[in-house]
Symmetry: C2
Subunit: 219 residues, 2 copies
Protein backbone atom coordinates (compact mmCIF):
# COMPACT_ATOMS: atom_id res chain seq x y z
CA UNK A 1 0.00 0.00 0.00
CA UNK A 2 2.94 2.30 0.51
CA UNK A 3 2.81 3.84 -2.94
CA UNK A 4 5.05 6.84 -3.47
CA UNK A 5 8.42 7.00 -1.82
CA UNK A 6 7.92 7.49 1.90
CA UNK A 7 10.76 9.94 2.42
CA UNK A 8 9.95 12.98 0.35
CA UNK A 9 12.76 15.13 -0.92
CA UNK A 10 11.74 18.66 -0.11
CA UNK A 11 8.77 18.75 2.19
CA UNK A 12 8.52 18.29 5.91
CA UNK A 13 8.61 21.70 7.48
CA UNK A 14 9.35 23.42 4.18
CA UNK A 15 8.50 27.09 4.08
CA UNK A 16 5.55 27.85 1.78
CA UNK A 17 6.53 29.75 -1.33
CA UNK A 18 4.06 32.56 -0.63
CA UNK A 19 5.84 33.21 2.62
CA UNK A 20 9.22 33.47 0.93
CA UNK A 21 7.63 35.87 -1.53
CA UNK A 22 6.62 38.21 1.26
CA UNK A 23 9.96 38.33 3.03
CA UNK A 24 11.57 40.73 0.55
CA UNK A 25 8.69 43.12 1.11
CA UNK A 26 9.29 42.99 4.83
CA UNK A 27 12.92 43.75 4.15
CA UNK A 28 11.98 46.78 2.13
CA UNK A 29 9.71 48.16 4.82
CA UNK A 30 12.25 47.52 7.54
CA UNK A 31 14.91 49.36 5.57
CA UNK A 32 12.60 52.31 5.24
CA UNK A 33 11.84 52.30 8.97
CA UNK A 34 15.52 52.04 9.79
CA UNK A 35 16.43 55.02 7.66
CA UNK A 36 13.60 56.93 9.34
CA UNK A 37 15.26 56.23 12.67
CA UNK A 38 12.58 53.86 13.94
CA UNK A 39 14.16 51.28 16.23
CA UNK A 40 11.24 49.09 17.23
CA UNK A 41 8.14 48.07 15.34
CA UNK A 42 5.31 45.69 16.10
CA UNK A 43 3.45 43.42 13.75
CA UNK A 44 0.54 45.82 13.65
CA UNK A 45 2.67 48.65 12.31
CA UNK A 46 4.51 46.47 9.84
CA UNK A 47 1.23 45.08 8.59
CA UNK A 48 -0.27 48.48 8.04
CA UNK A 49 2.48 49.44 5.60
CA UNK A 50 1.94 46.38 3.49
CA UNK A 51 -1.78 45.83 3.82
CA UNK A 52 -1.21 42.53 5.55
CA UNK A 53 -2.68 41.33 8.84
CA UNK A 54 -0.41 41.38 11.89
CA UNK A 55 -1.12 37.69 12.42
CA UNK A 56 0.23 36.91 9.01
CA UNK A 57 3.49 38.67 9.66
CA UNK A 58 3.96 36.88 12.95
CA UNK A 59 3.13 33.52 11.42
CA UNK A 60 5.48 34.13 8.49
CA UNK A 61 8.36 35.02 10.78
CA UNK A 62 7.67 32.06 13.03
CA UNK A 63 8.77 29.73 10.23
CA UNK A 64 12.31 30.98 10.77
CA UNK A 65 12.66 31.67 14.44
CA UNK A 66 11.63 33.92 17.29
CA UNK A 67 12.71 37.44 16.57
CA UNK A 68 10.30 39.52 18.64
CA UNK A 69 9.81 40.44 22.25
CA UNK A 70 6.41 40.14 23.87
CA UNK A 71 4.93 43.41 24.97
CA UNK A 72 7.34 45.31 22.78
CA UNK A 73 7.63 44.18 19.18
CA UNK A 74 10.60 43.68 16.88
CA UNK A 75 13.93 45.42 16.85
CA UNK A 76 13.99 46.83 13.35
CA UNK A 77 17.72 46.38 12.92
CA UNK A 78 17.72 42.85 14.33
CA UNK A 79 14.78 41.69 12.22
CA UNK A 80 16.24 43.27 9.10
CA UNK A 81 19.56 41.49 9.67
CA UNK A 82 17.85 38.17 10.25
CA UNK A 83 15.72 38.43 7.14
CA UNK A 84 18.65 39.46 4.98
CA UNK A 85 20.53 36.48 6.32
CA UNK A 86 17.62 34.15 5.57
CA UNK A 87 17.22 35.49 2.04
CA UNK A 88 20.94 35.41 1.35
CA UNK A 89 21.13 39.16 0.83
CA UNK A 90 24.44 39.54 2.58
CA UNK A 91 26.24 37.79 -0.21
CA UNK A 92 27.01 39.52 -3.47
CA UNK A 93 25.19 37.99 -6.41
CA UNK A 94 26.75 38.19 -9.82
CA UNK A 95 24.31 38.65 -12.66
CA UNK A 96 24.54 38.29 -16.43
CA UNK A 97 22.20 40.15 -18.76
CA UNK A 98 21.39 38.36 -22.00
CA UNK A 99 20.08 40.62 -24.78
CA UNK A 100 21.48 44.14 -24.88
CA UNK A 101 18.76 45.84 -26.91
CA UNK A 102 16.67 48.73 -25.69
CA UNK A 103 15.48 46.94 -22.57
CA UNK A 104 18.82 45.29 -21.87
CA UNK A 105 20.52 48.68 -21.94
CA UNK A 106 17.90 50.13 -19.63
CA UNK A 107 18.48 47.29 -17.18
CA UNK A 108 22.23 47.82 -17.30
CA UNK A 109 21.75 51.47 -16.44
CA UNK A 110 19.21 50.91 -13.66
CA UNK A 111 20.92 51.78 -10.40
CA UNK A 112 18.38 49.88 -8.29
CA UNK A 113 20.07 46.49 -8.36
CA UNK A 114 23.47 47.26 -6.90
CA UNK A 115 22.39 48.60 -3.49
CA UNK A 116 20.66 45.28 -2.91
CA UNK A 117 23.68 43.18 -3.73
CA UNK A 118 22.94 42.28 -7.34
CA UNK A 119 25.91 43.09 -9.51
CA UNK A 120 25.61 42.97 -13.26
CA UNK A 121 29.04 41.75 -14.22
CA UNK A 122 28.44 40.58 -17.77
CA UNK A 123 26.29 41.28 -20.82
CA UNK A 124 25.76 39.04 -23.82
CA UNK A 125 24.22 39.52 -27.24
CA UNK A 126 24.36 37.88 -30.64
CA UNK A 127 24.36 41.04 -32.69
CA UNK A 128 27.91 41.48 -34.09
CA UNK A 129 27.62 45.25 -34.10
CA UNK A 130 26.97 45.28 -30.37
CA UNK A 131 29.66 42.82 -29.39
CA UNK A 132 32.75 44.55 -28.11
CA UNK A 133 30.90 47.76 -27.26
CA UNK A 134 30.92 48.89 -23.68
CA UNK A 135 27.56 49.63 -22.07
CA UNK A 136 27.46 51.19 -18.62
CA UNK A 137 30.93 49.91 -17.87
CA UNK A 138 30.20 46.38 -18.99
CA UNK A 139 31.67 44.99 -22.18
CA UNK A 140 29.16 43.19 -24.41
CA UNK A 141 30.33 39.73 -25.36
CA UNK A 142 29.14 37.08 -27.79
CA UNK A 143 26.45 34.80 -26.52
CA UNK A 144 28.67 31.85 -27.47
CA UNK A 145 30.96 32.80 -24.61
CA UNK A 146 28.15 32.23 -22.13
CA UNK A 147 29.63 29.17 -20.53
CA UNK A 148 33.09 30.68 -20.15
CA UNK A 149 31.70 33.92 -18.76
CA UNK A 150 29.45 32.21 -16.23
CA UNK A 151 32.29 30.09 -14.95
CA UNK A 152 34.93 32.78 -14.95
CA UNK A 153 32.82 35.35 -13.14
CA UNK A 154 31.00 33.03 -10.80
CA UNK A 155 27.55 33.96 -12.05
CA UNK A 156 24.42 32.31 -10.66
CA UNK A 157 21.66 34.64 -11.83
CA UNK A 158 20.61 35.67 -15.34
CA UNK A 159 18.35 38.41 -16.60
CA UNK A 160 16.82 37.65 -20.00
CA UNK A 161 15.82 40.49 -22.34
CA UNK A 162 15.72 38.97 -25.80
CA UNK A 163 12.77 38.86 -28.23
CA UNK A 164 10.06 36.33 -27.36
CA UNK A 165 10.92 33.86 -30.09
CA UNK A 166 14.49 33.41 -28.82
CA UNK A 167 13.65 33.30 -25.15
CA UNK A 168 13.22 29.56 -24.70
CA UNK A 169 16.42 28.69 -26.50
CA UNK A 170 18.39 31.27 -24.55
CA UNK A 171 16.97 29.96 -21.30
CA UNK A 172 17.79 26.38 -22.26
CA UNK A 173 21.40 27.42 -22.71
CA UNK A 174 21.43 29.24 -19.39
CA UNK A 175 20.10 26.18 -17.61
CA UNK A 176 22.65 24.02 -19.34
CA UNK A 177 25.56 26.03 -18.06
CA UNK A 178 24.40 25.99 -14.48
CA UNK A 179 22.43 29.21 -13.98
CA UNK A 180 20.14 28.67 -11.01
CA UNK A 181 17.83 31.71 -11.12
CA UNK A 182 16.37 33.61 -14.06
CA UNK A 183 14.53 36.89 -14.30
CA UNK A 184 12.67 36.91 -17.61
CA UNK A 185 11.33 40.07 -19.23
CA UNK A 186 9.93 38.52 -22.41
CA UNK A 187 6.15 38.06 -22.52
CA UNK A 188 6.15 34.28 -22.45
CA UNK A 189 6.20 31.48 -19.87
CA UNK A 190 9.43 29.58 -20.44
CA UNK A 191 9.92 26.00 -19.32
CA UNK A 192 12.68 25.24 -16.85
CA UNK A 193 13.54 22.20 -14.73
CA UNK A 194 12.24 22.57 -11.22
CA UNK A 195 15.74 22.94 -9.83
CA UNK A 196 15.92 26.31 -11.57
CA UNK A 197 13.97 29.27 -10.24
CA UNK A 198 12.34 31.67 -12.66
CA UNK A 199 10.26 34.83 -12.34
CA UNK A 200 8.78 36.78 -15.20
CA UNK A 201 8.05 40.46 -15.38
CA UNK A 202 5.25 41.39 -17.71
CA UNK A 203 3.46 44.69 -17.27
CA UNK A 204 0.80 43.76 -19.80
CA UNK A 205 -0.35 40.80 -17.70
CA UNK A 206 -0.65 43.12 -14.73
CA UNK A 207 -2.73 45.59 -16.69
CA UNK A 208 -4.96 42.88 -18.08
CA UNK A 209 -5.75 41.49 -14.67
CA UNK A 210 -6.86 44.94 -13.59
CA UNK A 211 -9.11 45.66 -16.54
CA UNK A 212 -11.21 42.71 -15.46
CA UNK A 213 -12.25 44.70 -12.42
CA UNK A 214 -12.71 47.92 -14.37
CA UNK A 215 -15.03 46.11 -16.74
CA UNK A 216 -16.98 43.98 -14.31
CA UNK A 217 -16.43 45.90 -11.11
CA UNK A 218 -19.23 48.29 -10.22
CA UNK A 219 -22.18 48.31 -12.55
Amino acid sequence: MADISPSRWDDQSAVPEVVVGRLPQYVRVLKELLSDGVEVANSQQLGQQLQVTPAQIRKDLSYFGRFGKQGRGYSVRRLLDELQQILGLNEQWNVVVVGVGRLGKAILSYPGFTPDGFHIVAALDNNPSLIGQEVEGVKVRAVEELDAVVKAQNITIAVVAVPVRFTQQVIDKLVECGIRAILNYAPTSPQVPESVKIRSIDPVLSLQSMTYYLTNGSE
Copy 2:
Protein backbone atom coordinates in the same frame (compact mmCIF):
# COMPACT_ATOMS: atom_id res chain seq x y z
CA MET B 1 -23.63 40.46 19.22
CA ALA B 2 -24.12 40.99 15.51
CA ASP B 3 -20.97 42.96 14.94
CA ILE B 4 -20.12 43.55 11.33
CA SER B 5 -22.83 44.04 8.74
CA PRO B 6 -24.53 40.73 7.96
CA SER B 7 -25.01 41.31 4.23
CA ARG B 8 -21.59 41.46 2.65
CA TRP B 9 -21.01 43.77 -0.24
CA ASP B 10 -18.93 41.89 -2.74
CA ASP B 11 -18.92 38.20 -2.04
CA GLN B 12 -21.31 35.48 -3.09
CA SER B 13 -20.04 33.77 -6.19
CA ALA B 14 -17.22 36.23 -6.71
CA VAL B 15 -14.36 34.98 -8.83
CA PRO B 16 -11.21 34.45 -6.77
CA GLU B 17 -8.46 36.93 -7.53
CA VAL B 18 -5.93 34.20 -8.32
CA VAL B 19 -8.21 33.00 -11.07
CA VAL B 20 -8.46 36.45 -12.62
CA GLY B 21 -4.69 36.62 -12.46
CA ARG B 22 -4.35 33.51 -14.57
CA LEU B 23 -6.75 34.53 -17.32
CA PRO B 24 -4.31 36.92 -19.02
CA GLN B 25 -1.81 34.09 -19.21
CA TYR B 26 -4.38 31.91 -20.90
CA VAL B 27 -5.01 34.73 -23.34
CA ARG B 28 -1.33 34.93 -24.17
CA VAL B 29 -1.04 31.22 -24.82
CA LEU B 30 -4.21 31.17 -26.92
CA LYS B 31 -2.91 34.03 -29.06
CA GLU B 32 0.27 32.10 -29.64
CA LEU B 33 -1.62 28.97 -30.62
CA LEU B 34 -3.87 30.97 -32.92
CA SER B 35 -0.96 32.51 -34.75
CA ASP B 36 0.53 29.03 -35.09
CA GLY B 37 -2.64 27.96 -36.85
CA VAL B 38 -3.86 25.69 -34.06
CA GLU B 39 -7.65 25.67 -34.05
CA VAL B 40 -8.48 23.38 -31.15
CA ALA B 41 -6.73 22.79 -27.86
CA ASN B 42 -7.60 20.77 -24.79
CA SER B 43 -6.96 21.57 -21.17
CA GLN B 44 -4.02 19.20 -21.12
CA GLN B 45 -2.19 21.06 -23.88
CA LEU B 46 -2.99 24.48 -22.46
CA GLY B 47 -1.80 23.37 -19.05
CA GLN B 48 1.49 22.08 -20.38
CA GLN B 49 2.44 25.49 -21.75
CA LEU B 50 1.84 27.19 -18.44
CA GLN B 51 2.86 24.50 -15.98
CA VAL B 52 -0.67 24.31 -14.64
CA THR B 53 -2.83 21.23 -14.18
CA PRO B 54 -5.58 20.62 -16.73
CA ALA B 55 -8.10 20.47 -13.88
CA GLN B 56 -7.15 23.95 -12.83
CA ILE B 57 -7.75 25.39 -16.24
CA ARG B 58 -11.14 23.74 -16.50
CA LYS B 59 -12.13 24.89 -13.04
CA ASP B 60 -10.97 28.43 -13.75
CA LEU B 61 -12.96 28.62 -16.95
CA SER B 62 -16.02 27.15 -15.28
CA TYR B 63 -16.39 30.33 -13.23
CA PHE B 64 -17.37 32.11 -16.41
CA GLY B 65 -19.25 29.61 -18.52
CA ARG B 66 -18.97 26.49 -20.59
CA PHE B 67 -16.63 27.05 -23.49
CA GLY B 68 -15.44 23.57 -24.37
CA LYS B 69 -16.74 20.50 -26.13
CA GLN B 70 -16.45 17.08 -24.55
CA GLY B 71 -14.26 14.67 -26.42
CA ARG B 72 -12.67 17.51 -28.32
CA GLY B 73 -11.44 20.48 -26.29
CA TYR B 74 -11.69 24.21 -26.81
CA SER B 75 -11.92 26.19 -30.00
CA VAL B 76 -8.89 28.42 -29.69
CA ARG B 77 -10.53 31.36 -31.41
CA ARG B 78 -13.76 31.04 -29.44
CA LEU B 79 -12.04 30.73 -26.06
CA LEU B 80 -9.71 33.62 -26.86
CA ASP B 81 -12.67 35.82 -27.76
CA GLU B 82 -14.54 34.89 -24.62
CA LEU B 83 -11.59 35.57 -22.35
CA GLN B 84 -10.86 38.88 -24.00
CA GLN B 85 -14.49 39.80 -23.51
CA ILE B 86 -14.37 38.77 -19.85
CA LEU B 87 -11.18 40.74 -19.22
CA GLY B 88 -12.41 43.78 -21.11
CA LEU B 89 -9.66 43.54 -23.68
CA ASN B 90 -11.85 44.47 -26.58
CA GLU B 91 -12.14 48.00 -25.36
CA GLN B 92 -9.37 50.49 -25.84
CA TRP B 93 -7.86 51.62 -22.55
CA ASN B 94 -6.36 55.06 -22.35
CA VAL B 95 -3.30 55.33 -20.15
CA VAL B 96 -1.40 58.21 -18.62
CA VAL B 97 2.26 57.91 -17.66
CA VAL B 98 3.33 60.00 -14.70
CA GLY B 99 7.07 60.64 -14.48
CA VAL B 100 8.92 60.97 -17.78
CA GLY B 101 12.45 60.23 -16.61
CA ARG B 102 14.58 57.38 -17.86
CA LEU B 103 12.02 54.71 -17.05
CA GLY B 104 9.05 56.80 -18.14
CA LYS B 105 10.65 57.36 -21.53
CA ALA B 106 11.38 53.66 -21.86
CA ILE B 107 7.74 52.87 -21.12
CA LEU B 108 6.56 55.40 -23.68
CA SER B 109 8.73 53.76 -26.30
CA TYR B 110 7.79 50.16 -25.44
CA PRO B 111 5.69 48.84 -28.31
CA GLY B 112 4.23 46.00 -26.24
CA PHE B 113 1.25 47.87 -24.80
CA THR B 114 -0.55 48.98 -27.92
CA PRO B 115 -1.22 45.58 -29.51
CA ASP B 116 -3.07 44.67 -26.34
CA GLY B 117 -5.29 47.68 -26.35
CA PHE B 118 -3.43 49.90 -23.91
CA HIS B 119 -2.85 53.30 -25.44
CA ILE B 120 -0.57 55.79 -23.77
CA VAL B 121 -2.30 59.03 -24.59
CA ALA B 122 -0.72 61.36 -22.07
CA ALA B 123 2.50 61.92 -20.14
CA LEU B 124 3.00 64.13 -17.11
CA ASP B 125 6.02 65.40 -15.24
CA ASN B 126 6.89 68.24 -12.89
CA ASN B 127 10.26 69.06 -14.37
CA PRO B 128 9.86 72.37 -16.27
CA SER B 129 12.55 71.45 -18.77
CA LEU B 130 10.62 68.35 -19.80
CA ILE B 131 7.21 69.96 -20.04
CA GLY B 132 6.29 70.82 -23.60
CA GLN B 133 8.74 68.33 -25.07
CA GLU B 134 7.38 65.60 -27.24
CA VAL B 135 8.37 62.02 -26.36
CA GLU B 136 7.40 59.21 -28.69
CA GLY B 137 4.60 61.28 -30.14
CA VAL B 138 3.18 62.28 -26.78
CA LYS B 139 3.51 65.81 -25.46
CA VAL B 140 4.71 66.02 -21.86
CA ARG B 141 2.43 68.18 -19.75
CA ALA B 142 2.60 69.62 -16.27
CA VAL B 143 1.45 67.32 -13.51
CA GLU B 144 -0.93 70.09 -12.37
CA GLU B 145 -2.98 69.43 -15.49
CA LEU B 146 -3.65 65.88 -14.34
CA ASP B 147 -7.31 66.35 -13.65
CA ALA B 148 -8.00 68.13 -16.93
CA VAL B 149 -6.03 65.57 -18.93
CA VAL B 150 -7.74 62.60 -17.33
CA LYS B 151 -11.16 64.02 -17.99
CA ALA B 152 -10.46 65.29 -21.49
CA GLN B 153 -8.89 62.07 -22.71
CA ASN B 154 -11.08 59.64 -20.86
CA ILE B 155 -8.22 58.00 -19.00
CA THR B 156 -8.85 55.21 -16.48
CA ILE B 157 -5.38 53.72 -16.03
CA ALA B 158 -2.13 55.28 -14.82
CA VAL B 159 1.45 54.11 -14.94
CA VAL B 160 3.61 55.62 -12.22
CA ALA B 161 7.36 56.04 -12.76
CA VAL B 162 8.45 58.73 -10.32
CA PRO B 163 11.08 58.47 -7.58
CA VAL B 164 10.01 56.52 -4.49
CA ARG B 165 9.59 59.51 -2.23
CA PHE B 166 7.01 61.12 -4.51
CA THR B 167 5.10 57.97 -5.31
CA GLN B 168 2.49 58.09 -2.58
CA GLN B 169 1.59 61.71 -3.19
CA VAL B 170 1.33 61.17 -6.93
CA ILE B 171 -0.89 58.16 -6.36
CA ASP B 172 -3.11 60.08 -3.95
CA LYS B 173 -3.66 62.66 -6.69
CA LEU B 174 -4.42 59.97 -9.23
CA VAL B 175 -7.00 58.40 -6.95
CA GLU B 176 -8.52 61.79 -6.28
CA CYS B 177 -9.16 62.45 -9.93
CA GLY B 178 -10.83 59.13 -10.55
CA ILE B 179 -8.10 56.82 -11.84
CA ARG B 180 -9.25 53.24 -11.22
CA ALA B 181 -6.15 51.18 -11.95
CA ILE B 182 -2.48 51.90 -11.32
CA LEU B 183 0.68 50.19 -12.45
CA ASN B 184 3.45 51.25 -10.11
CA TYR B 185 7.14 50.88 -10.94
CA ALA B 186 8.58 52.48 -7.82
CA PRO B 187 9.96 50.09 -5.20
CA THR B 188 7.35 50.78 -2.54
CA SER B 189 3.88 49.53 -1.57
CA PRO B 190 1.56 52.51 -1.93
CA GLN B 191 -1.74 52.74 -0.09
CA VAL B 192 -4.91 53.01 -2.14
CA PRO B 193 -8.60 52.69 -1.28
CA GLU B 194 -9.89 49.25 -2.09
CA SER B 195 -11.97 50.56 -4.96
CA VAL B 196 -8.73 51.26 -6.82
CA LYS B 197 -6.66 48.42 -8.24
CA ILE B 198 -2.91 48.55 -8.06
CA ARG B 199 -0.06 46.29 -9.18
CA SER B 200 3.60 46.94 -8.62
CA ILE B 201 6.52 45.86 -10.72
CA ASP B 202 9.74 45.42 -8.83
CA PRO B 203 12.48 43.25 -10.27
CA VAL B 204 14.50 43.42 -7.06
CA LEU B 205 11.73 41.74 -5.07
CA SER B 206 11.67 38.97 -7.66
CA LEU B 207 15.41 38.48 -7.41
CA GLN B 208 15.34 38.49 -3.64
CA SER B 209 12.69 35.81 -3.46
CA MET B 210 14.89 33.60 -5.65
CA THR B 211 18.10 34.03 -3.70
CA TYR B 212 16.34 32.42 -0.76
CA TYR B 213 16.36 29.17 -2.70
CA LEU B 214 19.88 29.63 -3.96
CA THR B 215 21.06 30.09 -0.41
CA ASN B 216 19.01 27.45 1.36
CA GLY B 217 18.21 25.15 -1.53
CA SER B 218 20.58 22.20 -1.90
CA GLU B 219 23.32 21.97 0.64
